[in-house]
């Protein structure tokens, strides 16, 4: 893996501005600033062809691994409660029909020796769709040096449209899919507006309308739910469920589901898949017979070892661990043991809603990134997210940042040295 552009003089202010304008107009990146700093880099990481093949295969393999884990866990309410689900939510989850997420993302990092590790699975409401579908093409258009490289994410939009089409099959004509979002969050709103625009034509051909609305536009009626005044028969939720437990929104959705009047495309199962406690469960069960030999090997070799915070090996020093809150998102509530004193670490352990993951010594990468002062050459760490659409690998979402990748990280496109993806058959047979 390498950074595509390492010379800051290559990215003039005018070139960068033209790129962002295209990103705004084609990808609706209205939120291209984070804390006043530019978020979109006119740059890319370039994967070696075998790295691309490995990550694509791992993405699909881990999709199966986590699906098996979640199905094994979901029927046990007490285990779900231990994972942080409130009891009523655990009961609802245990009765839910499991389905693969329409869109998920596995976040990988590469250590200093070049080995790839899985850190987490964003299965509930993964971000980055606009960047991957639209902005990456803007990078390739703006940088001649990118045009000869493969763009492995090129089919993400098409795959997503197909997945939404399948997920809404069987709805009667004239029915509607609602997409609900917290419209006060510009990033979320723009991402879901972009998604709605992406899928609307295809769903329209099925006779299904696509409706976008704010959480305050979602109303329970005698006939079911309505969004912005339009009755909806299916719902895709882009609101964090864990913060909605017990709210009228949550109750309205599950009443409609229970009455058979609503098809919830991303229910609690996706939140379970994303729960970091499931990482610990997978690690603990890595030798179990529920997994094939290839899956066991993938876990053993590529999942960063993870334990419940009160059950990590005695020999593990806290400086070698990272504590992560089970429902944490976007780097929130992530603590490196080396940054905490003994008292603070004990406090995290007492909360019990954390897992301890072995710290990966992530390799550094040099790349030119945008700052408010212009393009700068920086050394940083990269997280490569492998998208999975309905169980199939669909490309990447890469961010460049510091020790913890948060919402302050910069986005980079992801290209491959060799055009296209290696054959699917070789992925399936790969040994880890």
């Amino acid at each position: 893996m390498r950074g595509l552009i390492t010379d800051p003089s290559r990215i003039s202010d005018a070139l960068y501005r033209d790129f962002v304008q295209q990103a705004q107009l084609t990808g609706w990146l209205t939120d291209h600033l984070v804390r006043g700093e530019p978020y979109l880099a006119l740059n890319a990481v370039v994967l070696e062809a075998d790295e691309n093949c490995l990550l694509a295969g791992l993405t699909e393999t881990f999709a199966v691994i986590f699906d098996r884990a979640a199905r094994a866990v979901m029927g046990n309410v007490s285990t779900l409660v231990e994972l942080g689900f409130p009891w009523p939510a655990a009961e609802l989850l245990s009765a839910e029909t499991p389905r693969l997420p329409i869109l998920g993302r596995f976040d990988f990092v590469q250590d200093r020796l070049g080995h790839w590790w899985l850190l987490e699975y964003n299965a509930d409401t993964p971000s980055g769709l606009r960047e991957a579908v639209a902005v990456e093409a803007c990078v390739q258009s703006a940088l001649p040096e990118a045009r000869e490289l493969g763009r492995p994410t090129g089919r993400l939009g098409e795959l997503l449209v197909t997945a939404f089409g399948r997920a809404t099959e069987g709805l009667a004509r004239s029915h509607a899919l609602g997409i609900v979002v917290d419209a006060a969050e510009l990033e979320d709103l723009a991402q879901m507006a972009f998604t709605a625009c992406l899928i609307a034509d295809t769903l329209g051909k099925q006779g299904v309308a696509t409706v976008l609305g704010d959480v305050d536009n979602l109303v329970a009626t005698r006939q079911g739910l309505s969004l912005v005044g339009r009755p909806i028969e299916a719902l895709y939720r882009y609101v964090a469920f864990e913060s909605a437990f017990g709210t009228p929104l949550f109750a309205a959705i599950y009443e409609a589901v229970a009455d058979g009047r609503l098809r919830l495309l991303n229910g609690l199962f996706g939140l379970l898949l994303q729960n970091k406690g499931l990482l610990a469960w997978v690690w603990r069960h890595r030798t179990d017979a529920i997994y094939s030999a290839a899956e066991r090997a993938a876990i053993e070799r590529h999942l960063a070892p993870t334990w419940p915070i009160d059950a990590y090996p005695e020999q593990a020093d806290r400086s070698s661990l990272v504590a992560k809150q089970v429902f944490g998102r976007e780097g929130e509530e992530v603590f490196f043991g080396e940054d905490l004193n003994a008292e603070a670490w004990d406090e995290v352990r007492r909360r019990r809603s954390y897992v301890a993951q072995r710290r990966v010594d992530v390799g550094e990468l040099t790349a030119v990134i945008p700052t408010w002062g212009g393009a700068e050459r920086r050394v940083g760490r990269v997280t490569v997210g492998g998208y999975v659409v309905a169980g199939k690998w669909a490309g990447y979402y890469t961010r460049f940042g510091d020790k913890i990748i948060t919402n302050r990280a910069k986005w980079l496109a992801t290209f491959v040295e060799e055009e296209g993806r290696h054959g699917e058959s070789s992925l399936g047979k790969r040994s880890y």
Partner: protein
Amino acid sequence: MITGETSVQHLARALILWQNAAGPYWPFVNAAPFVSGHVAGPLLEGRPWVPRWLSEAVDSFPPLRGTPGGIGVQEGVQPGECRDEARPAPTGPLAGPFTSAADPDCSSSAVCSAFNGERAAFFVDVSPTRVLPAAPWLNRRGFVVVPVIQRWSVAPAVLRSERLLAQLVGYATRVERPVGERGVIFILDGDRAGRSSVTASPRRFDNRYEYPPCRFPAPDFLVTQGIRDVCWLFIGSFADDLKPYREALARQGIRSVEQAICVD
């Protein structure tokens, strides 16, 4: 109705024009209304107009005092007092063809009189359709104009956007990067919270919002642009969502003055 170019093309072109005219502040021209909206014409409502409270505040910035069209210091005015928006038309060479407010008999603002930096930034937190028509005039006064309007401009919605979009498109062709820059005017969406007296219908898209601090330039960026003083103009009381940003400016040593204004 729009002919020739589509609504999308009009809005795209307008966004680029606004950003190109914003110089170093181009990233802060928020694209939300331009990518979410639809314009059906007429594109421009009326002629350019400069509210008196705005011309007073801008012209109270010291470098123009005593120059034609500039306005002197108003005595006895304290931050927080209200001013009347409706005033007679402007005079003087800098006023150009615009309707403005240089009424010599009217006491004018001292809000920026103590500023001593080379450049100032104004954050105008008022209904944007009251301020956008003044953009060309502000350019001529030496100010970059940056609409920081995050409104998702669909219909039907709690916040209507037809007039806003028409102005954003219409005035886009009239703004330019000023010569001899004296500062920057950030046009905020003073309507973003909606009307507190009106209960929003769930049948209308709820596009109300608050500003996170990251929609605005980092304080050190402003300093590099020579901005040491900031003036806030608003109706009623200072908005809660802007307070964290104001505090961030203060931590950087940037001075803020505030002025509540009254409009019709």
